[in-house]
């Protein structure tokens, strides 16, 4: 019986070798694929073992991880709830991560290469590796004023520091409570998520672009002034009705009003009262090239950018003929801007024609609070000369002083601005816009206010929000 026994012994050896080979195949060859399979929740669960870094505004944590009993060691919380939801996003077991939680995940989770040396140190000292903190540029007073102003509306407010590009406010309504999406109870997370509308999960300031209406006239004015052939005082045609070239369509002013009894007015007045016929004709006179290149210089070039949240690209759309050019010149047709882009237009004018790249993260710090990286202000483009900027400031100041933007006036502070009331879809209310900056002679803040289907003019409902946001910021700057 020994011969078959030996053969059985060898067969057993072969069987076990097969087992070992197969285990090698799984744990070595296929290991990476299995480890990173989206259905493999182990890596995600591992993230919850580390203390995730905080997101900080003005010294206060707006997103933080607190230890909890249970299998997942840390719970993500957002003490201010809805106020910063569009900025922080959420950190969810079920729906992954969004916004800053996603964009700054490497640093927050501690896997960022900039933290490598500290992680090595943790390895030797036996401390649990923790993530770094992200400190934002936001101003809590600005954010609060913006959210309060937008209450009950679908809309957005973007506030920038024109001289640096710091984002002072980034508000979007309606909002949601990210804490509820970041709990450890998948059923509760799903139930809450199912109740949220698309508008709640959209950051209106950066995710979507909308018809800007008359706000775009600032860009056309800039294109005109940049030619050197126009000054704020240049008289331009401002008929009651304009028949668009090559069509039988006539363009009218808002509510069919007349811009000027003489059919002519200064460029400044045309912007002040937001004369549609004047700007349509002006755009046609300038030609598509001048309008388009000025728009692109302001950043309206269909390109997304990161700040580090993704900002959708703004666009001029295609312009096939002079009729379309005329309509585009008053911010209709296919022209679409994000509220962020609208704020950037105001900021560029405010900053003597230099557009600073907007940024949300002031600095990132290691768990021991040492600064790991700091964002340096960076010029994105210089769409206009400082002379043109000066002229535009004069014109926009007139808009607020005695034009369509009166409701943005602040006692003792000169505010520059431009309103916009944009037709979008038939049967839908107009979008209501306001962009502006203050103080006009020495700008500290530039804002854009957008209310989706606001149903009223930008001057009526958006300008007051801009006013309260500017006031909130200037009050914090020691009154001005």
């Amino acid at each position: 019986m020994n011969a078959p026994l030996r053969r059985v012994a060898i067969s057993v050896l072969v069987l076990f070798t097969l087992l070992i080979l197969n285990v090698n195949y799984i744990q070595v060859v296929r290991a990476d694929k299995l480890r990173n399979d989206p259905s493999n929740t182990r890596v995600l669960a591992e993230e919850y073992d580390r203390e995730r870094g905080s997101i900080i505004v003005d010294g206060k944590e707006i997103a933080l991880s607190t230890p909890t009993p249970g299998r997942l060691k840390y719970l993500r919380q957002y003490p201010q709830g809805e106020l910063y939801a569009g900025v922080t996003g959420y950190y969810s077991l079920v729906y992954s991560k969004t916004r800053l939680e996603q964009a700054e995940n490497d640093l927050l989770s501690g896997s960022d290469p900039r933290l490598v040396l500290r992680r090595l140190a943790d390895l030797f000292t036996g401390r649990d590796p923790a993530g770094g903190d992200v400190v934002l540029t936001l101003d809590p007073a600005v954010q609060q004023a913006a959210m309060t102003g937008l209450q009950g509306q679908t809309g957005a407010v973007v506030a920038l520091d024109p001289s640096t590009g710091k984002i002072l406010g980034l508000a979007s309504t309606p909002s949601f409570d990210p804490t509820k999406l970041s709990s450890h109870d998948p059923a509760a997370i799903r139930a809450y998520r199912d109740k949220l509308s698309d508008d709640q999960l959209t950051n209106q300031a950066i995710d979507q672009r909308y018809s800007p209406g008359s706000v775009f006239k600032v860009v056309v004015s800039a294109a005109a002034l940049a030619t050197g052939k126009y000054t704020p005082d240049t008289q331009i045609a401002a008929p009651d009705k304009l028949t668009l070239p090559g069509t039988k369509t006539t363009l009218e002013n808002f509510a069919g009003e007349s811009c000027s009894s003489t059919g002519k007015q200064s460029l400044l007045d045309a912007l002040r009262i937001s004369c549609n016929t004047a700007f349509a004709q002006l755009g046609i006179d300038l030609g598509e090239d001048k309008v388009r290149s000025m728009a692109e210089a302001f950043g309206i070039d269909d390109q997304k950018f990161d700040m580090p949240l993704k900002v959708a690209g703004s666009t001029l759309g295609s312009i096939d003929n002079d009729a379309q050019l005329g309509v585009s010149s008053i911010g209709q047709q296919d022209v679409q801007l994000t509220p962020m882009q609208a704020a950037m237009i105001a900021a560029a004018v405010a900053n003597h024609g230099s557009l600073m790249k907007p940024y949300l993260v002031d600095r990132v710090t290691a768990p021991d609070l040492a600064v790991v990286d700091r964002t340096e202000p960076e010029e994105m483009s210089k769409p206009i000369s400082s002379d043109v900027a000066k002229d535009l400031t004069q014109m926009m100041t007139a808009v607020v002083a005695n034009g369509t933007g009166r409701r943005a006036q602040i006692d003792g502070v000169e505010v520059a601005g431009k309103t916009g009331t944009a037709e979008n879809a038939t049967n839908a209310s107009d979008h209501s816009w306001f962009i502006g900056f203050a103080p006009a002679d020495h700008p500290k803040i530039a804002v854009a206010v957008f209310i989706k289907h606001g149903g009223s003019t930008g001057g009526d409902i958006s300008a007051p929000i801009a006013k309260s946001v500017i006031q909130a910021y200037l009050a914090g700057q020691g009154g001005n």
């Binding site: 019986m1 020994n2 011969a3 078959p4 026994l5 030996r6 059985v8 012994a9 057993v12 050896l13 069987l15 076990f16 097969l18 087992l19 070992i20 197969n22 285990v23 090698n24 799984i26 744990q27 070595v28 296929r30 290991a31 990476d32 694929k33 299995l34 480890r35 399979d37 259905s39 493999n40 929740t41 182990r42 890596v43 669960a45 009993p69 249970g70 299998r71």
Partner: protein, 470 residues
């Protein structure tokens, strides 16, 4: 240190065979050390401090192996020195992983107080007690052959009971392989396996001349006569019955495999293997086409990720665990082996692979290999045909079971419901396997013990075919 002086098998003077008990003691100490260190690592990693029962556990586990070792010294002094330490290491590792999974469920639900590790320790204690009792009571393994037919009957009955019981008393997760009474669950198949192997050994030793010699030559191969196919067909039918009535693919495959291999060893006729394979293929083909649950098993095996939220959930989670573990593993207490359903029993190997990595899992496979090969070696040197065949059958049973289970958990084979010997949670399996090892120890003691005048020296291939009774 040998048996009592009246033992007729007392070694004759001059035949100085090393007993190797010191080696065994050393290896056992090593196994205990690994167990205790692993237990400490689990506690420290998960809870940050040692549990209060740790000291008690250390004493208990040490006492277990000391008792088993002393029993071998006293009643089986010449036994193979690697059998018990292999078992000790596997049991210790199993206890550790089960304890680790207990802690995991407490982490998920702080109110969960059900702890399986202490229960498993009690089963291990019972197993060692039976191990010692066996060595004390059965001084000569050949005694077992006297009860071959009784054991066959018991084995069949144990196999049949769950099939006959109402599902409420016998079915867990679809497989009707349990006897559940008064809070206890027994898996009689594990005991049936041993009973049937003993019977196979006795029966085949008895009939091997007929089965081996009477043959016809067909196509260059010695084929048995039609009427001699009876026993193998019976074993095949029995396996199919198990599959049909208990939906237990594993036991079915295990029993048939063991029988065919033992038949081959007994008769030295490879034609039996061929017949076995043909019968297996036929059975498998029929089973696949007739039984939906077999079909489901095979489909999930072929593409587990297509069923990852359903039937393939267990297997994909197991593969995720193994993949995440990688070469070195997450470390004891560092992984998420509790994400695999029933990780404590059927899928304990994936928990080992996730936390101890490829190295840990291969180490476990190699320990099994050592256990099996020592069993087969015992068979090689055994002096009597019954002992030879019995040792081979038992060793192969362990090998085949480990192959089928680990192959299932790692996706090499379709999943079956077999338990991982010594490692997995489950009283029946643990206790039964202790008895299995006790038999191997007993046979190896007889095999390595220097020959006495009572047993004439014999050539290995020429062992007596008749069973010595009385």
């Amino acid at each position: 240190m040998a048996g009592p002086i009246t033992d007729p098998r007392t070694p004759v003077a001059g035949a100085d065979v090393p007993k190797r008990r010191g080696t065994e003691a050393l290896l056992l100490g090593f196994a205990v050390l690994i167990t205790v260190v692993a237990q400490c690592i689990v506690d420290l990693t998960i809870t940050g401090s040692l549990r209060p029962e740790m000291a008690g556990f250390c004493v208990w586990i040490t006492a277990l192996w000391v008792a088993a070792h002393l029993a071998i010294r006293r009643w089986a002094a010449y036994a193979d020195p690697l059998l018990l330490p292999s078992v000790a290491l596997l049991v210790g590792l199993g206890l550790t992983v089960i304890h680790r999974l207990d802690l995991a469920s407490e982490q998920v639900d702080a109110t969960a107080t059900r702890e399986d590790a202490p229960v498993q320790l009690i089963w291990a204690t019972l197993g060692v007690a039976l191990f010692v009792a066996f060595l004390v009571v059965v001084r000569d393994h050949r005694t077992l052959s006297r009860y071959a037919y009784t054991l066959a009957l018991i084995g069949m009955a144990l196999l049949a009971i769950p099939a006959l019981l109402p599902s409420s008393l016998s079915s867990v997760n679809g497989a009707k392989i349990w006897i559940r009474l008064a809070g206890f669950s027994i898996q009689p198949g594990e005991f049936a396996k041993i009973c049937l192997v003993i019977f196979f050994a006795a029966y085949l030793v008895d009939k091997r001349d007929v089965l081996a010699l009477a043959s016809r030559r067909v196509a260059g191969m010695e084929l048995p006569r039609g009427r001699d196919l009876g026993p193998v067909l019976l074993a095949w039918v029995l396996s199919i019955l198990v599959l049909v009535f208990e939906r237990d693919l594993g036991s079915s495959l295990l029993l048939f495999g063991i029988f065919v291999v033992m038949l081959y060893i007994a008769t030295e006729r490879s034609s039996w293997l061929l017949i076995g394979v043909v019968l297996f293929a036929g059975g498998a083909y029929i089973a696949y086409n007739v039984f939906a649950h077999v079909q489901a098993r095979v489909d999930t095996w072929l593409d587990p990720f297509a069923y990852k939220n359903g039937a393939g959930y267990q297997l994909t989670q197991s593969l995720f665990g193994l993949g995440t573990g990688g070469l070195f593993g997450a470390g004891l207490g560092g992984g998420r082996p509790d994400q695999v359903p029933v990780a404590k029993s059927d899928f304990i190997a994936s928990a080992v692979g996730e936390e101890l990595g490829l190295f840990g899992l291969v180490a476990v496979i190699v320990i099994y290999l050592i256990l099996v090969e020592r069993g087969l070696r015992t068979s090689l040197v055994a002096r009597d045909a019954f002992g030879k065949l019995l040792a081979a059958g038992l060793a192969f049973a362990v090998a085949w079971q480990v192959f089928v289970v680990l192959g299932g958990v790692t996706g090499l084979l379709p999943l079956t419901g077999l338990t991982t010997p010594f490692l997995a949670y489950g009283g029946s399996s643990l206790v039964a396997n202790f008895v299995l090892v006790a038999i191997l120890v007993r046979i190896s003691d007889a095999a390595r013990r220097p020959a006495t005048p009572h047993v004439a020296p014999q050539r290995l291939g020429d062992a007596p075919t008749e069973v010595v009774t009385q």
